[in-house]
Subunit: 299 residues, 2 copies
C-alpha cells in the first residue's frame, strides 16, 4: 500500500534521510510554509507583537527548571559533545572503526533542543522586570525537537512551530486565547481545510502522567485545532491554544507592574502539519489547488 | 569595557540566554538576514539550483560515515534522549531534585546536529543514481551546530548557513567555486563591507589534525572571505569556498552518467556573521545605514 509519506517522497516534496520523522523539504514544500506564515502575519500583524527568533536549542538550566522532564522525558533531546583529549580521540576513532557504541563517552553540553518555541521566552522576559499593565505579546518561530520516531509524516522529530505568547491578567490572556481560536478556525476555512476544536490529549509520561493529563482536560487548559491528515478517526493537532494560568508567571517570576503574578497563554501553529494538511486535502501539486486557496496563500 | 556583544544586547538585536554562543534574535536582526538572503537569491537565482531545506539534525549513520569525528570531534553535537521506564523516570527526577548529573542516563538517538548545511545532501543525492553530464546544483540553508562556547558574537553555537553545492566534473565545480568567489566579493562590496580572500584555517583537532590542516592549505582546497567584525587582526570568515576534489563523490558514490566519480564543491554564507558584519560596519540602527547599502538590501 502506498502511504501518504510514500507519495510525498515520490512527488519530491519530502526527502528521506533514513531516520523516521526526519526529512528534507523541497522548495515547493517550503513555499507553502512561507505562504502560510505570511497569512499568519496578516492575521496577527497589527496586534503589535514583539518578534523574537530563538535558535533550535535552549539553555539546559532553563529547560531543567521548566519541568519538561517531569511530563515528557521521552520526548526531550539533550545535546552532547566530545570533551576528551588526544588519547581519548584515538580511543573514540578505534571504537567507531570497530562499529561499537562510541556515543557513551559524549558529555552533556549546556544546550537542550527546544521542545516548543516559547520555552526560551519566559526566562528571557522575566529578566526585563515587571510587565506593563497592558501586558505583553510576542511572536516566535523555531525548529523544535521531539523524540518520537514515526512513519506518520505529521509526527516529525524536527519541525517548526510558530507561536504567539501573551502575558498579562487572566482576562487579558484568556481573551487572547479565544481570539486566536476564532482566528485559527477562520484561517483554516480560508485555505479550505476542515477543522474541529477539542480539548488536548498531551502524551504525559507514565501512570503519574495520567493525572496530569486528566487535570489538563478537566480545567480546559489546552485546546487543539484538529485537521484530518493521515487519519480521519484521529485528526492531527495543527494548532494548540494553551492557558497556563499563573503557573509560568510563578515559576519564572513574571509580574505585572502592580506586583501581581502574570498569567500567560500561547497559541502555536504546527507549520509542517498545516502544509501537510494542505497537500493532503488539495493534492500534491500546488498549481492544481482551488483558486480561492491559492488566492489566500499567494494572492 | 563595553564589547560588541554587550552593545548588541543593549540595542535589543540579540538576547542573552545564559549560554555563551546561544542567543535569541530580534525582528530587526532577522530582517537583515532575510534581506541578505534575497540578495543571494537574486545573485544565484538564475543558475537553476534545486532548493532543499534540511532540518537542523541529520541521520547519525551518515554523520559517522562523513568522517567529521576524525577532524572536528570537539565541535559535534549528538542528540540524546531518555529511554527508560517508569522506575527509571522516578530515579531521574530524584537525581534532578538533588541537582546531580541526570544526563548520564540519556541514550544517543539516531540524530546528530547538522555541522554544515551540505552534510545531509550527499547521501540524499547519491540515492538518485548517476548525475547528468551537465552536473547538478543545489541551494541549501539550515541551522548548524558547533560546540565552541565563546563570547565572540561571530562564533555562535547555533547559527544559519546558506550554501550552494555543485556536483560534476573537476572543471565544472572549480569554475562554480571561482564564480562564487567573484560574486561573493562583489556582493559584500555592494553592501559596503571590506573583504579579503585567504586560504582557510580550519580547527582540525589535535596534533594529527595539523597535518590535515596543512594538506588543506597546501592544496588550496578551501578559501574564506574574511571581514573584520570583532577583530581587525583576525577578521571573521563570512563565506567559505570548498573544493572537495572527488573525496565526497568517492565516499558517497556520486557518479556522472559516464561512470566517472563526481567532483564536488560548495560555497557557504555564514548568515549571522554577515548580519553582524553589517551591524559592526554600518551601526546598530539599520535606518542609519548608508543609502546605497539600504537600497541593495531593501531596494
Amino acid at each position: 500500500m502506498t502511504t501518504f509519506l510514500d507519495r510525498l517522497f515520490d512527488a519530491g516534496l519530502l526527502f528521506e534521510t533514513g531516520v523516521d520523522g526526519l526529512y528534507g523539504r523541497s522548495g515547493a514544500f517550503e513555499d507553502v510554509i512561507a505562504a502560510f506564515e505570511r497569512l499568519i502575519d496578516r492575521t496577527g500583524g497589527t496586534d503589535g507583537a514583539e518578534a523574537i527568533r530563538f535558535p533550535p536549542g535552549m539553555n539546559r538550566a532553563f529547560f531543567e527548571k521548566s519541568g519538561y522532564m517531569k511530563s515528557f522525558p521521552q520526548l526531550a533531546g539533550t545535546v552532547h559533545s566530545f570533551c576528551g583529549n588526544e588519547l581519548d580521540h584515538i580511543s573514540l576513532l578505534k571504537c567507531m572503526d570497530a562499529e561499537e557504541d562510541w556515543t557513551k563517552e559524549q558529555k552533556a553540553t549546556d544546550i537542550v533542543l527546544t521542545p516548543a518555541a516559547c520555552y526560551p521566552l519566559y526566562p528571557t522576559i522575566a529578566k526585563r522586570g515587571p510587565l506593563p499593565a497592558t501586558g505583553a505579546l510576542f511572536d516566535l518561530q523555531s525548529y523544535c525537537f521531539r523524540h518520537e520516531p514515526s512513519t506518520d509524516p505529521a509526527r516529525q522529530q524536527l519541525f517548526r512551530m510558530r507561536e504567539y505568547v501573551c502575558m498579562g491578567t487572566e482576562s487579558h490572556v484568556t481573551d487572547f486565547r479565544q481570539l486566536w481560536m476564532d482566528r485559527g478556525t477562520a484561517m483554516m476555512q480560508a485555505v479550505g481545510l476542515p477543522v474541529e476544536i477539542d480539548v488536548a490529549n498531551d502524551p504525559f509520561f507514565g501512570r503519574a502522567g495520567k493525572m496530569l493529563a486528566n487535570n489538563q482536560r478537566d480545567q480546559n487548559l489546552k485546546f487543539e485545532l484538529l485537521i484530518p491528515i493521515t487519519s480521519t478517526e484521529k485528526p492531527t493537532a495543527c494548532m494548540s491554544f494553551n492557558y497556563h494560568q499563573d503557573a509560568f508567571g510563578t515559576k519564572w517570576g513574571l509580574t505585572l507592574d502592580n506586583g501581581a503574578v502574570a498569567h500567560t497563554a500561547c497559541v502555536g501553529f504546527g507549520l509542517e502539519r498545516i502544509a501537510l494538511a494542505l497537500f493532503h486535502h488539495h493534492g500534491l501539486d500546488v498549481k492544481t489547488w482551488p483558486e480561492a486557496v491559492r488566492q489566500t496563500l499567494w494572492g
